[in-house]
């Protein structure tokens, strides 16, 4: 965990005081709703369908048991007893009262947390790999760099009123688990020829209405230049990003309209003035930040614990869970464990007060009091001894957090959708539940194998539907809630955007449509090793379409061709 120093703490406290005063002015009528809105958004406060929604940052997904208990306390005292973990390493509370939000922020500040810049047109919470610091394929530990970016972006005076929101993601591993290709800026930590740390810099990725995969604008940025180069990118965007149309205001549109080459040239021209200036990072500062992270005191253990292997052989249920929810660790004898927040019938990413407190206890007993929040909306115990995995499984099972579905069809990513979000075209939670029910049979799920299914309630794409192997998007059809289905999206190193299979469906048809897609996949796969996404890439979307819509559309297309030829 990063430990605040005096100044970090003071700034967060001062933010609480500032927001308390702004809220008072608003409630007393001297600060209008229009003028208050951008200010409250920069503190994570939306006015939603039923009540305000408060989004709290979990910087780069790192959370201590003490912090999780504080979140549980907030859910109990100021909310309806639960919180929703989002796809961007944040937690959202759906029922706080506006006048009580300053008290909630004050409570957060007591455990070194905040809601600073979790919404609004500013630099948002920086996200990273949910296995940062423990993944065996890690090249560079991204946590220190994330904290440096957090400090740089917090209250950056020049970039508080950007054309649109701005999201940065950092990956330090070979496998990209931070979705860096679909962020405004993606940073891939790499090692240079002499082993020095640097970053490959991508810009202009994003989901939303115009999904785009980011472009590399610098192959190797040596680490001292990280912040000045970010300043240069942001300055070009702040000055030239479109402000006339909010749907064209993200940096991806600027990069596209200018072309990546011209955009890069503009950034370089700006950077020429900033390079080697005072923002240049020093080794002392990087070391100082690094030393403020507490690190687990690992024991020297054998690479494979006999207790673990015996339990695997003895208990098929445990083995199945371990196969999906236990991840390799860079330290011998340890593992990371995903606690699934995707139980059938529970809105994806939701955790109750009791669950949060119980998970905090698990973290204390089994994982050095440390947790991670994943962008797949699950919680992770990052440092568990292999010999204790069986005990963790049993306890997690009792808490309803041991669904062995990580990477499977029922591990659905879904935004809050129409049940909570005022921007939604359609609900997402009941659709997720219907699909989870349709695929309730775990053996069947395991047979289907790796499959990412993502649901967004509208084009804002908070549920990342574009990069789901199957993506579902809520659309509005003459005032009714409909769902558009796409296939072939993927996150990670081979990121791609899904293709829409055809006309949209009513809510009660969706689960059946998904069943047909799966049927097609199972019929066409070469072997169990060929995943759904591989088959879509190999045979294209036509066979899937056919099975879903019958061949009606083929006839239509054939007729259209005939007409065109006539």
């Amino acid at each position: 965990m990063y430990q605040y120093d005096e100044i970090d703490q003071k700034l967060v406290d001062e933010r609480v005081a500032q927001f308390r005063e702004q809220t008072q002015r608003h409630l007393s009528g001297t600060l209008s709703e229009d003028d208050f809105r951008p200010l409250r958004l920069q503190n994570g406060l939306y006015i939603q369908r039923f009540a305000p929604m408060l989004r709290v940052a979990i910087p780069y997904g790192l959370l201590s048991s003490r912090q999780l208990r504080a979140l549980a306390h907030i859910a109990r005292k100021w909310d309806h007893g639960y919180g929703h973990f989002s796809t961007r390493q944040n937690i959202q509370f759906n029922w706080p009262k506006l006048e009580e939000v300053p008290d909630i922020l004050a409570h957060l500040a007591m455990v070194q947390m905040h809601a600073i810049q979790t919404s609004g047109n500013c630099i948002r919470n920086t996200t990273t790999d949910h296995l940062a610091g423990v993944a065996p394929d890690e090249i560079v530990d991204p946590l220190v760099w994330c904290e440096l970016i957090r400090q740089w972006s917090t209250f950056h005076p020049e970039f508080a009123y950007l054309p649109r929101k701005f999201k940065i993601a950092v990956s330090g591993a070979e496998q990209d688990r931070a979705a860096i290709q679909v962020h405004d800026i993606g940073l891939q930590a790499v090692r240079g020829d002499n082993g020095e740390t640097g970053f490959r810099v991508l810009v202009g990725g994003g989901l939303g209405r115009t999904p785009i995969i980011g472009t590399v604008i610098r192959e190797f940025l040596p680490w001292p230049h990280l912040l000045s180069y970010l300043d240069a990118i942001l300055r070009v965007y702040n000055r030239y990003g479109r402000r006339d149309n909010k749907y064209k205001a993200r940096i991806k549109i600027l990069v596209k309209e200018l072309t990546p080459e011209v955009f890069r040239a503009q950034v370089d021209a700006e950077w020429a003035h900033l390079q080697d200036g005072p923002a240049t990072l020093t080794a002392a500062e990087v070391a100082r930040i690094g030393s403020r992270f507490t690190r687990p005191q690992y024991l020297k253990l054998d690479a494979l614990s006999p207790q673990y292997t015996q339990a695997l052989a003895r208990e098929p249920g445990f083995a199945r869970w371990a196969g999906r929810n236990v991840h390799e660790h860079r330290v011998p004898g340890y593992a990371a464990v995903t606690l699934s927040l995707k139980k059938t019938g529970v809105p994806p990413g939701d955790a109750t007060t009791e669950q949060m407190e119980a998970v905090a206890d698990l973290a204390d007993r089994y994982s050095f009091g440390e947790l991670r929040v994943s962008h797949e909306q699950n919680l992770i115990l990052s440092d568990v001894k292999q010999s204790e995995l069986f005990a963790v499984w049993q306890e997690a099972k009792a808490l309803g957090l041991a669904t062995p579905n990580i990477g499977l069809i029922s591990n659905i990513i879904a935004c809050p959708g129409g049940d909570f979000c005022s921007l939604a075209n359609a609900k997402s939670i009941p659709v997720a539940a219907a699909i989870q029910r349709r695929f309730d049979d775990l053996d069947y799920q395991h047979d289907i194998g790796e499959l990412d299914l993502n649901i967004s309630g509208c084009m804002n794409s908070c549920g990342h539907h574009h990069v789901g192997h199957i993506g579902i998007l809520g659309v509005d059809k003459q005032g009714a809630e409909f769902y558009q289905v796409s296939i072939g999206g993927a996150q990670g190193n081979a990121a791609s955007l899904g293709k829409v299979i055809g006309p949209s469906f009513a809510q009660d048809e969706v689960a059946e449509v998904i069943a047909r897609l799966i049927e097609t996949y199972l019929a066409r796969r070469d072997s169990e090793a060929e995943r759904f996404i591989d088959v879509v890439r190999r045979i294209g979307i036509e066979p899937f379409k056919e099975n879903v819509y019958g061949n009606a559309h083929q006839k239509r297309e054939a007729r259209a061709r005939q007409l065109a030829a006539a």
Partner: protein, 181 residues
Amino acid sequence: MATLIRNAKLAHDSWQRLEAAADGGLPSIPPQGDLLVPLKLWQLSSSALLGRPSGRVGVWLAPQEDPALIADSLDALALIAVHFPQFTDGRGYSTARLLRERYGWKGELRAIGDIQRDQLFYLSRVGFDAFELNDGIDVPQEDLLRSAQAALSAFGDFSEAYQTSVERPLPLFRRRGAEVA
């Protein structure tokens, strides 16, 4: 008339601001008094402006206007202002830093337009030292003064800052080192 804050104090404003007409037509030039003129007027009539019998000249920039366009004129100017049509239009923050850090403007740099107390802290960090508060319509004079007085406290909203800025050119991590040394 907007309330003016200069160097964190309420101040008297001697400047008259000229604007282009809705159809883009440029205003005529009054023979005296301190004039804050749009960039276009400065570009077309700088000698007429400077040749007046009395009064100083300043230029105000719209959000999209590049400060490089007046970089050669700084010696002739007594004031530069940057206009914020809405406070959420943040281009002027970059304009200010460029004027201060790249082109070396040392004189008064004024934020005009939709400026409220909640922006004063960031504006002052990027180099503004004068602010015309957006007073709204029909607010009684004594209320304006009271709220402007209250707004002065906004400069102290935060006691520290991480980044480089005009106000504190060294980022916190470089100043920290200095404290230890």
